[in-house]
Subunit: 215 residues, 2 copies
Amino acid sequence: MEITQKEDILNKFPQFEQPLLVEIMAHSTIRQVEEGEEVMRTGQYIRSTVLLLSGLLKVYREDDEGNEFLMYYLEPGSACAMSMMCTARDEQSQIMAKAVTDAEVILIPSHLSEQWLAKYKSWHNFVIASYRQRFEELLLTLDSIAFKGLDERLVFYLKRHVKVSGKEIRLSHQQIALELNSSREVISRLLKKLEQTGAISLQRNYIEVHDLEVV
Amino acid sequence: MEITQKEDILNKFPQFEQPLLVEIMAHSTIRQVEEGEEVMRTGQYIRSTVLLLSGLLKVYREDDEGNEFLMYYLEPGSACAMSMMCTARDEQSQIMAKAVTDAEVILIPSHLSEQWLAKYKSWHNFVIASYRQRFEELLLTLDSIAFKGLDERLVFYLKRHVKVSGKEIRLSHQQIALELNSSREVISRLLKKLEQTGAISLQRNYIEVHDLEVV
DNA sequence: GATGTTCAGTGACTAGTATCACAAAGTAGT
DNA sequence: ACTACTTTGTGATACTAGTCACTGAACATC
């Protein structure tokens, strides 16, 4: 069991040097997360750095009235940037993270991930790269909300979905509306339009993406 | 001259340990920036970490059509998080930064700011804290765009302005409209409404904020 | 103080999105 | 196959914000 897990970690994080992998194995815990389960909640205190080993997480923001919007997805081999920034003094999470599929996460105690920054070059690089990637993805999300109409945002959303989980999207219009902080009817109408151009085809709880570039 | 500057730096960054201040003095350059001047452009390669010594910078995002929206302000004693993330491999800036007032910035060569992470605890903490603060501010901006109407966004904008440069706001409606990616007429109407509630009073190129909490 | 320029105020219209109400289609359980 | 439930489709309506066209006020320059 331990050996398989270690190999798994090595597979997902090949850039880590051997001694770091050993430390990860020795001091971190692996947690199984079920589809739909919340990995992190707004306001929750963070004591661990979260790495994703398998599955898919969505990271999103939620306001007081329960509205939400998607920030980005986390794929295996990546880390929750928020959990890395909350190291030192028991800070609170500003975001929500939920498992889109069953997933496995590695939890590394904050004080260790802090130490490793100085100790392991590969860890340090990984952390900086994670910050940067998340920041950039956040900027893309921001752009799409600030500058684009809902039609373009929907296309952007679908494209992102295709990238992380393929051309067969199993979501109801309601779920999509929620993640874009819009309403079901509007999403239905826009999807219908996309179907008419031939970019996608629609069935119940199912969207098949043909070509979103032509739109 | 050098001595004054060194004391300035110490004043703005009291958390830095003495040897670090010495290094900053020795290896960084100070650049005077005039009001309205661009400190950083989207797509520009970044070779320095930027610290703000005096004045006020606005950091914003711009799209292909020249639309923009404000991400946040940088005040003296803070750093451009983007410039810190672009260390290693000559990355490009994703953002614009412009001087709102005359300003002085410290430019630290990227390779040094990288080294200092391991060498100086205070630098390391400063960098992490900067990431976190910018990330949080960005999330607030994102919230206001995603969840709120323009009226609330305007109040949010005015509040932020009061925080960084006081209750007397010397801006035209046009400039505000630009930063919120809206149009002049709409901003004029919303400001008028705020004036009617007594929250602000309006004159040409001038807004005096009385109390934005009541709104 | 006449003139040109920038800034602000306002009404009319339009486009995009949200909301409401309801119908139709698909799915699951019995 | 009947029922209950979920999902999708669609028209009518309302609201927010953007656009256009124009007016008047404040300021600068000469």
